[in-house]
Subunit: 233 residues, 2 copies
Amino acid sequence: MEVINNFREIVVEKPADKIIKQIKQLISSGQLQPGDKLPPERQLCEKLGVGRSYVRDAIRKLEFYGIVKTLPQSGTVVAGLGITALEGLITDVLMLEGHDFQSLIETRLILEKQTVRLAAMRRTADDLIDLEKALDAYRAKVENGKQGIDEDLMFHIRIAEASKNSVLKSLMLIVTPDILTHFTEQNVCGGGKPYGALEEHMTILKHIQDQDPDKAELAMSAHLKGISSFKNA
Amino acid sequence: MEVINNFREIVVEKPADKIIKQIKQLISSGQLQPGDKLPPERQLCEKLGVGRSYVRDAIRKLEFYGIVKTLPQSGTVVAGLGITALEGLITDVLMLEGHDFQSLIETRLILEKQTVRLAAMRRTADDLIDLEKALDAYRAKVENGKQGIDEDLMFHIRIAEASKNSVLKSLMLIVTPDILTHFTEQNVCGGGKPYGALEEHMTILKHIQDQDPDKAELAMSAHLKGISSFKNA
DNA sequence: AACCAGTAATTGGTTAACCAATATTAAGCA
DNA sequence: TGCTTAATATTGGTTAACCAATTACTGGTT
């Protein structure tokens, strides 16, 4: 074990984050209830001893999460169903950070399997055209010896679009790139066997064409097996 | 049909959103590639004819999505795997808005079913204690004639925690409250039959105790049936 | 006493100026 | 010629001041 590994990553706690914690504290302690107006920005920044920009940043972020709603020239009110606020912020400030890799992969497997099922059931003729285009783009990259990560991912996204479930698509867009950031060396699908992955893509597409959800799901499972077996590495 | 229904909700396109669109355009058109530094804030705000705050807001939002990374006193660089940027922003600015209700419900069904499976397999003794506490809290509300929406939701969240999959839990936290906002009158689980929902909760808990994933999933399906049959209303 | 109009204070929205850290350039030295 | 170093320009960070819309208040009227 090298000494270097004993260093922890430095966490730069930005001012906005500290303010968010304080506001969260106010909400979770019940001093601020849904519907309440929270103190005006000027008062807050004076009380906290920081510039108003920071307070505004904090409020923006909270608004982003749907915890507060700010009405121009009027005030900012607590909107949330308490739980979202608390739980969403318990994982600290960013919701999607700090997830363990295994959960990420497991979740992707779930999402992809269900998505491809729906896609097989609901795909239209236009969807098939888009899928073929995406597959061709990926094939072109592979035949040029490239990894084609973007094209690979795009194929999966097209499947999500064919599923006609906009939420599932959004969730996949949240989860999948997160995997890539941890896993950049690898391509989206499997371990360094581009041609194998290409064939698997073709198999999946075929089952979608045939509108066979069960086979499509199985093919997707097999396709993602490479990545999920990697989880213990 | 009342005339009032012909009005569309007014969409206030905030300045930051317009700027985001322009930057998105730059990225998707390839003028800005991953790794490139984008123009300094002053230059941008001058070019766009707005204050620097707006430009900063836009950059913050993009950073939020993981599309750019801003280095203090140095510059802002495009970080993304292009696709996230494009697709994530195609649903306009906010990722979670504009979803159709049916997709939302369908997705929740998927997430809850898979989550309860994992929970049944992985739950610890401590998890069971938490689940019982949550159930008791819900029971107390119901017996007082209340809806107990928060307690209801909390039971489901505890299940997600027992699944030991942090990503699934986060996704459920994203999806479920969104349903509630469209569906406030109803409680989380079913249609106005609090005692029935309570019994169903007990059944689910029992199967989790028994570590029987299949029965747990079935019970959850039955439990959520009320809501999913509502989808055509 | 209740209500309305007009004014003053307060609100978030927006802009401009200032600051410290960084990157760049140019000059000086070996 | 190549490297070091100092001066300068540029960057995002931060604060303070200004603006227009809203709200609260006061005084007068009915």
